[in-house]
Each structure stands twice: as C-alpha cells, then as structure tokens.
C-alpha cells in the first residue's frame, strides 16, 4: 500500500513537472526561432552548410556569399526578375552604360572602322541612391567624422557595428564606384578579380604595382592615385575604359565587385584595433541596396533589415509568358521590398533543415542550393507526369520552384591522353563509342531522380545558342525518333569499337583489354555510381578503373594533364555563350597556357579558337548564332566530353511565401519576396502541437524498470544468508 502511494506521488510529480514545463513557453515547444520584433515581417531562412567566409565585395567570389552581398549592395546593373532569357537592367545607375569605342589615341571611332583600341562605358548614378545608416557616415557639428580614432584604446568599447550610437548616411556618388574598382586592384586585399580585370581595365595593373610600393600601416586613401581607365566626370557620372573590345564586360557590371564603396567606410574600418574585433568591411558590409546587415554571427545567424534609405524601387510590371497565371505579377508596380527582416540561420546538416522546413520554421527549403545533392528526395515521388510532391507535402500546400542553373556537370576526355585522346578518326570513334555506351538518361534518372537535362552541347537551356529539338541533338550519339532524341543502340557503339581498333573492347593488335581510368573526387562518387559506370562500359567490353582523390590532388592532375577521364563542373558568371564555350578554347588549356585554365580536356583546335574569338566580339544575332552552331558541331564531332548534363534544382516554398520565381544568375531577389505572417503563425501552431504521451510513457517505463530492482533489493535485505 505504501509503495503504491509512493508510486502515485511520483507520477503526480512528473505530471506536474511536464505541466509546468509546457506552461513556460508561449508558442509551440519546438520553435527554434527567437521571437521576432512585433510589426515587422520577418523572412526565416537558412545558410548552409557553412557561413560566408568573405563579405567584402572585392574578396568574395562564392554564391553563398553573394546571397548576402547582392541584398546589401547594388551594382550598377542587375537582372530583370521575371524575364527570360535573362535581361540586364539598370540598378544603381539611371540607364544601361553608354558605350563608346576609341582608337589608340582615345578618339571616338566607329565599331566597324577596325581601329577600336579601347571601349569606354559611361554611367550616371541615380540621384536618389543613398547608403544605409552607418557609423562611418556619422559626423560631428563641424562635419568631421565622429568615429576616427588614433589609438586602439579609444575605440575599444565598440565590438560590433550596432554598438555605435550615432549613425549617418549620404548619397551614392560616382567616385564610390571608382573607389570600389581601385580596391579590386589593391594587392594588399588580394581580390580574385585583379588577375582577370587587370587584363581589361586600362591601367589597373600599373595602379596595383604603384600602390604596392606604398607603406600600409594606416589606411591608404586610394583616391590619391590615378587609374588611367577610370574617370569621374562629375558627382553622378563616371566611366570605365577597357582595352580593345570585350562585349561581355557589361555582365560584370551586374556583379557585386562593381558595387559602390564609400571611402569613408573603408577608412572607418581601418581604425586601430578594429580588425582584432572582426570589425572589418569583410564582416560588416555597407551598401545602398534594399537591405542592411544588423547582425553577423557566422556561427549561428546573419540578420538583414530593410535599408530605410533604399531608393524607390518597384516590382516589375511585365514578365515572361505564364508569369501572370503563376501569380508572379500580382504585386506589379508595388514598392519594394515587401519584407522588413530576413534571418538566415546556419544549418550544417540536412535533417534539422528539412525538419524545420516541414514544421514551418523555415519559409523556403533553401536559398542558393536546391536539390542538387538530393537533400529533399523524400519530398518527391515519381508519378505519371514525372516528379510529384508527396501527399504529406501537398497537404501542407507546399509549392515547388524549379530552376535550371546556367551550369553543368561533365566528364571530360583528356585530348592529350595517348589512349583515348587525339584527333584521328579511330580516336574519335573510340570516344563516341564510350559516349553512346554511357546511358546518360538512365544515369540522371537513377542518381538524380530525373532532375537534369542531358546536354547535347556545352550551352545550357536559357542561354543564347542553346538549341532544342531535332536541330539541337548530337547526331553522333542520338537519333531523332518519334519526335524525341533517342540514344543510338549499343550495337552501334560496338561497331565503333571495332572501327576504332578495339573489337569487343580488346586491342586488335595486342589482344589486351582496354582499360580506362576515371579521376573522381573522393567525396563526389559512391560505390553504387561506380558499379553502374563499370557495368555500363562492360557492355562494349571496356574495363574501368577509378582513381579517387581529394580536390587538391585532382586539381594537380588536371593542371599537369595527368588524367584520362575526369569529372568537373561549371557555373557561369553571366548568361552569355562565351562563358561556356571558353571552356574548350586552347588558350584555357593548362598545358598550353601553363595556368589554372578551365579547358581541362586540353582541346586544341585552331578552327574552334578562331571561331571563339569571332563569337566573343560579335553582337547577338544570326551571325553569332551561326558561329556558335559551328563551334557546337566541332564539339560534337571531336567528342571532347564523355557527357554533360544540366542539373535542375528544386526549391520548396511554404504556402505563405509569394514571388518565389528562381533566377539562375543572381541571388539578389529578396526584395521581391512576400510573406503572409498571419498564415505562417496559424500553420506553425497547427503543425507543431507537442505529443506528450511519450513523456508519461517514458516516466512509467523508468519506474517499471526500477521496480523489479527495488523489489529484489528489499527481498535480498530480508533474506537469510545462504553461504
């Protein structure tokens, strides 16, 4: 009786504890987000799998980092949110640049004159563009900067940007764009753009060499040094002059590297002791974009808030066909941005990310990475119309945004390899046989759940030069049957092997079996994939050996040409065929240029190179399309890559998120996103009711486990001795 009473008392105590615990929290117990400020619409998102390393426009060159930079900074140009093919629009400047061609003496000349030595891009800054409030702009009564310290001690009380009580702002000026470009040339910063842009912007290399000689203990005012190719015409107008012609330069103006940087901001962050507290432009960016950074804890979260000084900007009123039906024009003409805050939490592993999305704590499944690593395979089932959302997700009214990024994965042949490389008919046939045997469609279906498009050329869909239908197929690998591309039968591959001198996969002269070597990055391929590839090539009698290595060693092999077949990928910087076709230009071959070139196949064709140079300079139009078509013919004829495919990314959106159209080039689209917070709160409460019975069951189970022990112990104490 006594024991039963104790048991009941314990149960009551546990129940009370559970009751009290549940009373502690106002919302669902599992809410991982700290409460957001009231009356502010907060977008809840994720950064994965690592925090950004650089947030300085001169240093950053990663998509994960661009996610933040492109919300905070406004480059001169941007992309239309809705229109496809991708279209450039003016952003922080009033109009697209005025392009002038100059001869070697700097006098304007006609494009057709053949005397073009330089190209000048002139732009006028929007007068309404203003920087975000920031202590760097705070001034005292006499107009002097408020936060300029001569010793580390003076500023020691400031640890983060929000610690500074006084803030200021000012309009964006032409000089700020020029200053930003000069920072790209600063050797102390080490911008990845210096090497590339140094070839184009007039005087950039000389500028870099000149300031490299200057002492750098304190802030160096780059305004004191001239760069020949940059000119500030007036407060609002500036120009950039580049060597020769490089029509693709205009796309670079839509990247964060060319966003304005105020010199006083640069000077502010060079205060003594600031760098020791991570108070740098690399961690606290300052721009004139729609959002500003208010918290940067790369270990947990980054928080952006609406920039109160952001220029008047409005949702587009036109898009591509189908946008209106999809609701993408519902907000046409409305003032941007729609949200007040955006919180990006660090998620390193998949399960928590996925769980929080399903619980409604993340508004979307991701930002710059979709389903390429098959994170959300469990969200889809294969239905009669291809991939469909599972019933659970449809029940949550979750929508899918699909995005074919301007990028690709490919396996390349090393054209200098003594076995499979070369340009003879036999070698071409050998490579074509391997291409046919590698059933890319099956590969995509099995390993990517169909989330990819088999590539017929290096140009992905949505990029000028991409051809669909019968005209676009690779005639050496596919036939056009019943209105669709069909891979040639394996018998054709076997016949090609015979013609290549390898009947049944054996050397016709020596009788040795043909063994091919594939270099893969260790973490990029699993045993299942290897087995599939081995089985695929065994159909034509070819044996496969894998040479896995980490990226550093793989890169070393690529640079020295010590590969036979290698895996690689490419994401374009801008939507122009030049940014894809250069992958096969001989000037990019590491063995020819003795540099870290992108043509790892070491393809070397005079005709292709000449066509590439023509295409690079040719304006868009039928003439350029014809050149591109011939280049693709050469790619197909010479069988340079084993395969290429363009991955499709799937992003999932909760029902309360609108304007979720994906943009393959720029991640700077947060300003278009709209959230319905009431809908979200309602769903979160509905989906996250705690299940409490396991707590009671656990407590009872614990007691049941203890009870036999207690009984046995008591019995033992009362027992008589046996020995």
């Amino acid at each position: 009786m006594k024991a039963a009473l104790r048991f009941a008392a314990l149960l009551a105590a546990i129940s009370l504890a559970i009751g009290l615990t549940s009373g502690c929290s106002e919302g669902p117990w599992n809410d991982p987000n700290p409460s957001s400020p009231p009356n502010k619409i907060t977008y809840q998102s994720v950064m994965t799998p690592a925090p950004p390393k650089h947030l300085d426009t001169a240093l950053s060159y990663a998509t994960d980092e661009a996610l933040f930079l492109m919300q905070i900074y406004e480059p001169p140009l941007g992309y239309h949110f809705l229109k496809r093919p991708y279209e450039l629009i003016p952003q922080s400047v009033e109009q697209l640049p005025e392009v002038t061609y100059l001869d070697k003496d700097g006098a304007p000349v006609d494009l057709e004159s053949g005397e073009v030595a330089y190209t000048r891009y002139q732009m006028t800054v929007r007068p309404e563009a203003h920087y975000q409030p920031h202590p760097a702009f705070a001034v005292d009564a006499s107009g002097e900067p408020l936060y300029l310290f001569s010793t580390a001690q003076e500023g020691a009380r400031f640890h983060q940007v929000p610690d500074f009580p006084e803030l200021g702002s000012r309009p964006v000026q032409a000089g700020d764009f020029v200053y930003a470009i000069k920072r790209l040339a600063d050797p102390v910063l080490g911008s990845p753009m210096l090497g590339l842009m140094g070839q184009y912007i007039v005087g950039m290399k000389e500028f870099s060499d000149r300031i490299d000689e200057e002492p750098r203990e304190r802030w160096l005012d780059l305004r004191q040094y001239e760069m020949t190719g940059l000119e500030i015409i007036d407060d609002q107008t500036f120009s950039i002059t580049i060597n020769g012609r490089y029509p693709q330069f205009i796309y670079w103006l839509a990247m964060h590297f060319f966003s304005p940087i105020a010199p006083e901001v640069d000077r502010f962050y060079k205060n003594p002791g600031f760098v020791d507290r991570n108070l740098t432009l690399d961690w606290w960016p300052v721009g004139a974009g729609p959002f500003m950074m208010v918290k940067n804890n790369p270990n947990t979260e980054i928080v952006l808030e609406k920039n109160p000084n952001y220029r008047p900007d409005f949702y587009p009123t036109e898009g591509e066909q189908g946008d209106a039906e999809a609701g993408f024009l519902d907000d046409a003409g409305k003032r941007l941005p729609f949200i007040d805050r955006a919180v990006f939490r660090l998620e390193k592993t998949v399960l928590p990310l996925w769980t929080k999305f399903l619980q409604g704590y993340y508004d979307r499944s991701g930002e710059v990475r979709g389903n390429t690593n098959r994170v959300f395979d469990q969200a889809f089932v294969v239905g009669p119309d291809g991939l469909e959302l599972t019933e659970e997700l449809r029940g949550h009214d979750i929508t899918v945004s699909q995005d074919v990024k301007p990028g690709m994965y490919y396996y390349g042949f090393n054209m200098r390899d003594p076995v499979i490389g070369g340009y003879t008919d036999e070698r071409r046939k050998l490579r074509r046989a391997l291409q046919i045997a590698f059933d890319l469609e099956e590969y995509i279906n099995i390993f990517y759940k169909g989330n990819g498009i088999a590539g017929m050329s290096p140009i992905p869909p949505g990029i000028p030069g991409f051809m669909d239908g019968e005209a676009g197929i690779n005639p050496y690998v596919y036939d056009w049957v019943d209105g669709k591309a069909q891979r040639k039968p394996i018998e054709h591959a076997k016949q090609l092997m015979i013609e290549a001198g390898y009947p049944n996969g054996r050397n016709a002269v020596t009788g040795e079996p043909l063994k091919i070597f594939i270099d893969v990055q260790s973490q990029a391929m699993n045993n299942t994939t290897m087995n599939w590839i081995t089985r695929t090539f065994s159909q034509i009698g070819v044996q496969v050996e894998y040479r896995p290595a980490d990226w550093n060693r793989t890169r070393e092999k690529l640079l020295t040409g010590n590969t036979q077949i290698f895996s690689h990928g490419w994401i374009a910087d801008y939507p122009d065929p030049e940014n894809f076709l250069f992958l096969l230009s001989s000037s990019e071959s590491p063995l020819i240029c003795e540099c870290d070139g992108a043509n790892n196949a070491n393809y070397d064709s005079r005709e292709y190179d000449d066509l590439f140079e023509q295409m690079r300079l040719e304006p868009s139009g039928p003439a350029r399309d014809k050149i591109i078509s011939r280049m693709i013919d050469l790619y197909q004829k010479d069988a340079i890559w084993l395969y290429t495919f363009f991955p499709k990314d799937n992003y999932l959106n909760n029902a309360w998120v609108s304007n979720t159209k994906r943009h393959g080039i720029t991640p700077g689209n947060l300003k278009y996103l709209r959230i319905d917070p009431e809908h979200r709160a309602e769903r979160q409460a509905q989906w996250n009711q705690p299940v409490t019975w396991p707590l009671y069951a656990g407590a009872i189970l614990l007691l049941l486990l203890l009870l036999p022990g207690v009984i046995a112990y008591r019995r033992r104490l009362k027992a008589t001795a046996t020995h």
Binding site: P32, P192, L194, N278, N299, T300, N552
Partner: protein, 325 residues
C-alpha cells in the same frame, strides 16, 4: 607539490613543440600553400599571380622548414614553420585564413561548447555510476547478465544513430524540443535538452560497463565482506565503501576530460547546430584553414596536459597515501 606541477609544466613544452611539428607536417603533406590559396581565392580565374600574392600576404611564401637562401639561424627562423609556430607559444593565435581573429572566435565559441559538454559530462557520470552500482548489487544474477548484454548493445550502436534517432523521435515526431539550433538569449535550455540527452544515452553503454568492472573489482575485496558481515546494508556498502575505494581509476578517466570539455564535440555540435569549438574545428578542416587547425590542436594539447596534471592532483585528494614529489 608545487615543484612537481612546475616540472610537469616544463615537460609540456617539448610535448607541445612535438604536437605542433606533427600537426604542421601532417597538414602540409595533404595541403600545399598553393592549395590553401586556391581554396581561399575560389576556384575561378585564379591566376598564378593571385596565388603568389595570397601566399605573400599570409606568410606562406617561405620554405616550410629550412630556408636554404638564408644564412645563420635565419635558415630555421625564416620559415613557415617557425613563423607560424612561435607565436602560438605566446598564445597569439593570429587570424584565420579568411581574416577573422582566432582568439576572439575561440573565446566566443567555447561557452556554447561548455553549455552542452558540461551537463552531458556531469549527468553522464551520475547516470553511469548509478546504473553500474545497481548492476553490481545484482552481480551474477539474470539482471546483471541482461544489463551487460544491454551495455554491449548500446556500445555497438553508432553515435550517429543516437543523434538522428533522437532528432527524429523527440524533435520531429513528438515536437517536444527544437530539432537543432542555439539561441544564447532566452530559453537556452530548450536547445540543450536533446543534445545532452543524446550524449548521456549514447555514453551509457561504455560508461556503465566500465564502472561496473571497476566496482566489481572492489566488491570482491575483504573489506567489503567485512562490512557485509558487520551487517551494513547493501546501499551503505556501495556508496560508503566501494565507491570511495574505486575513486582512483574513476578519477584517472574522468578528471583528464574536464579541461577538454571546452573543446566541445565535433558530431553533437555539427548535428545540433551548436556554435562551439567542435564545429569550429570541423569547419576549419573542411575549408583547409590551417591557422585555426593549428591553434585548436595547440589549445587541445594544452588542455589535455592540464587535465593530466589535475588528475595527478586529484589522486592526492582521493587517497591521502598518494604524495606528488
């Protein structure tokens, strides 16, 4: 005792140099300074000039161990190894390859690590010792055999299973706590319940089995039989006689871990989104950030040496017969 501690601290210096040398060698066997430069600069348009510039800026433009171009002692001091190592001994960890101050990062991140590791450690010891004592009480019975079987089964399960299973059941299916995250302000405990619970349960198998072995050795001693003959209850025997006498091996295994609690856990922190030093180290390895790896290994070595010294000191407290000289 003071002389002993000073001597042990001096012994630590060659150990730390050795650890540093080993870390340095292993890291640069796998990564070259060029690899590090490419990793930091990105993989596109990286020119040889940019690589050289990065190496120069970050002090990786010198030979690794011996500078043949220098003369005298500079042959050894004007090298990457010397320049990067000597500062560590002054506790100047410098900046990570991405430019952040390592000391600031370490001092910020050690608290979340401790917030998870300390309760896991304390609760874990308590639970393991309690279970082990209970099992010892029923030595050579079916209960004992069943418990040993259970311990081995628990030990055989991968740590990842506990983490993923815990997240799936407690956070996803039952929605009792957040699946991951860490919000320093407010109700931190909500984020710690699950990782601590997982850490404790995952450690029961190995921990309780080990303590059981220790206690069983003591349970067969004469003094236990004497206590039992005197009529002491089983609980008195366990807690007043066996437990204090088993303290030396317990302290050997436990005290050494106390300083290293600051270092956190690689797996728990990564899966539960705890911004501690464990995940800091893991990120550094993934991003080839040698500055962080080197600093963390150095700190880890110091804490471990400190743990060993503390263990020796704790012996004197647990057993008055022990003298440090």
């Amino acid at each position: 005792m003071f002389a002993y501690i000073v001597r042990r601290l001096l012994y630590a210096i060659p150990i730390l140099i050795g650890v540093n040398l080993l870390t340095f060698t292993l890291f640069f066997v796998v990564n070259t300074p060029d690899d590090m430069a490419v990793s930091q600069l990105g993989e596109k348009y990286v020119t040889p000039e940019a690589i050289e510039n990065w190496k120069k800026k970050n002090g990786y433009d010198k030979p690794l161990f011996v500078n043949a171009d220098a003369s005298g002692t500079s042959q050894l001091t004007d090298t990457i190894f010397f320049n990067k190592s000597v500062r560590l001994f002054a506790f100047d960890f410098g900046r990570s390859e991405s430019g952040r101050d390592i000391t600031t990062d370490v001092s910020t991140r050690m608290w979340p690590s401790l917030a998870v590791a300390l309760p896991t450690f304390i609760v874990g010891i308590g639970v393991n010792i309690t279970i082990a004592l209970m099992v010892v009480m029923f030595h050579a019975t079916r209960l004992d055999r069943g418990a040993v079987f259970l311990f081995v089964a628990l030990m055989s399960i991968s740590y990842l299973f506990y983490i993923i299973g815990g997240q799936y059941l407690v956070a996803k299916s039952w929605r009792l706590v957040p699946v991951s995250g860490f919000v320093p302000e407010g109700q931190v405990w909500r984020f710690l319940v699950l990782p601590v619970m997982v850490g404790v349960i995952a450690g029961i198998g190995a921990g309780a089995r080990w303590y059981r072995t220790l206690f069983l050795e003591e349970a067969n001693q004469d003094y236990v039989r004497t206590a039992r003959a005197k009529g002491c209850s089983e609980l008195t025997i366990l807690f007043k006689h066996i437990l204090p006498n088993a303290m030396i091996p317990i302290l050997t295994g436990v005290v050494v871990l106390i300083p290293t609690l600051f270092m956190g856990s690689l797996l728990i922190e990564s899966f539960f989104g705890i911004p501690g030093l464990g995940s800091y180290m893991l990120d550094a390895i993934n991003s080839q950030d040698f500055a962080i790896v080197r600093s963390m290994v150095f700190i880890g070595s110091i804490l471990y040496i400190l743990g060993l010294i503390l263990t020796d000191i704790s012996y004197t407290l647990a057993d008055p017969r022990v003298r440090l000289s």
